[in-house]
Symmetry: C2
Subunit: 178 residues, 2 copies
DNA sequence: CCCTTATATATCAAATAGATATATCGTTTT
DNA sequence: AAAACGATATATCTATTTGATATATAAGGG
């Protein structure tokens, strides 16, 4: 990963829609892009500081209400240009880290029942996530006329398409093992 | 990631089939499990040293032929037990890092043509990988009687199923954007 | 004989995950 | 009214991992 911080692009991308705090950014990641990307506080807060130093984001007046300090960030013109350049750049790394598949790949060291159980756990998780995605899809289809929503819609379609493929595979896998 | 080293399980899993060098392990990862897991030298070599210290692998006589030093590792009884315990453990983290999808999600900051191009690049990569997977599938179907091959077969089916879903999505995405 | 490619180990900096510490706020329970 | 709790919010630490690079040898081609 030594090279460019991908989390920077997540942050700049989210800030291109709204001014947000680090905590808001984490919430938005967990809520909308978690189906193809994740982010932790341990990467978000240091990245925000770096981006501010670089001049890609700026700190808006926080703390009006006198509560817990709250730092709202806003994207700058420079930040927008960096984001656009990254979107235009054709190269993209697409990595999976599927521990379930790895457990299955090495399933021969244990019983067939163990592998069937691992498939079952995976299947339950996918079914739960698929339900969430279908709710998102129904909601967004009511507001597809707004330009930006189209891009969100595409990523939801991706999630649904792949998760359905996972479920089909679960059924096949069960048959092959039996 | 602070917690358990997943690369340890990749190494123990591969060593449960054959005695291997660090370099061999890297080759096997790139050749067979790269569709759902990746590994770099920077994680493999330190992990091998750690595993040796722990007693999960042991170093076999290297360097008979007098060439570049070559360290062949073998799994121990303890290593096998750690591997089995991990396979039995139901919890598994399944993460995607799809930069293509992220670029698409934030595609609104650039032209529609840019997003279409990003989809095209993704599609070409998937088509190339799918061809490789189909060759693997054809080869392994000739040798499915061997117990361990079934597990390899399942992971190939997973790759094919998901990659075909990606291609279907590419077509849908093009239509939505147009 | 040189050049390239494959084999092979090793290490470093940067990026990230995941855990934890700290503090505040609003709501519910006692 | 106080205590308990969960959500909000920032920050930091360690362990893990990536991706790059350095080093060395062997094999094959021109």
């Amino acid at each position: 990963m030594a090279k460019d911080r991908k989390i920077d692009m997540v942050i700049l991308g989210l800030l291109s829609h709204d001014d947000l705090t680090g905590y808001d950014i984490k919430k938005q990641i967990d809520g909308s892009i978690r189906f193809f990307w994740k982010g932790s506080f341990g990467s978000i807060y240091p990245a925000l500081s770096e981006l501010e130093k670089q001049g890609s984001v700026r700190r808006l007046k926080g703390n009006d209400s006198g509560g817990r300090e709250k730092i709202i960030y806003s994207i700058t013109g420079q930040g927008k240009e960096i984001l656009r350049a990254w979107v235009r750049d054709e190269k993209a790394s697409n990595d999976l880290k599927y521990e379930t598949l790895m457990k299955l790949f090495f399933g021969g060291v244990e019983s067939k029942e163990t592998s069937l159980r691992n498939i079952e756990v995976f299947e339950e998780q996918i079914k739960a996530d698929l339900k969430v995605l279908q709710v998102y899809k129904a909601n967004i289809e009511k507001a597809l006329d707004e330009e930006d929503h189209v891009y969100f819609y595409l990523t939801i379609l991706f999630g649904i398409e792949t998760y359905e493929a996972y479920l089909k595979w679960c059924n096949k896998a069960r048959k092959v093992l039996a």
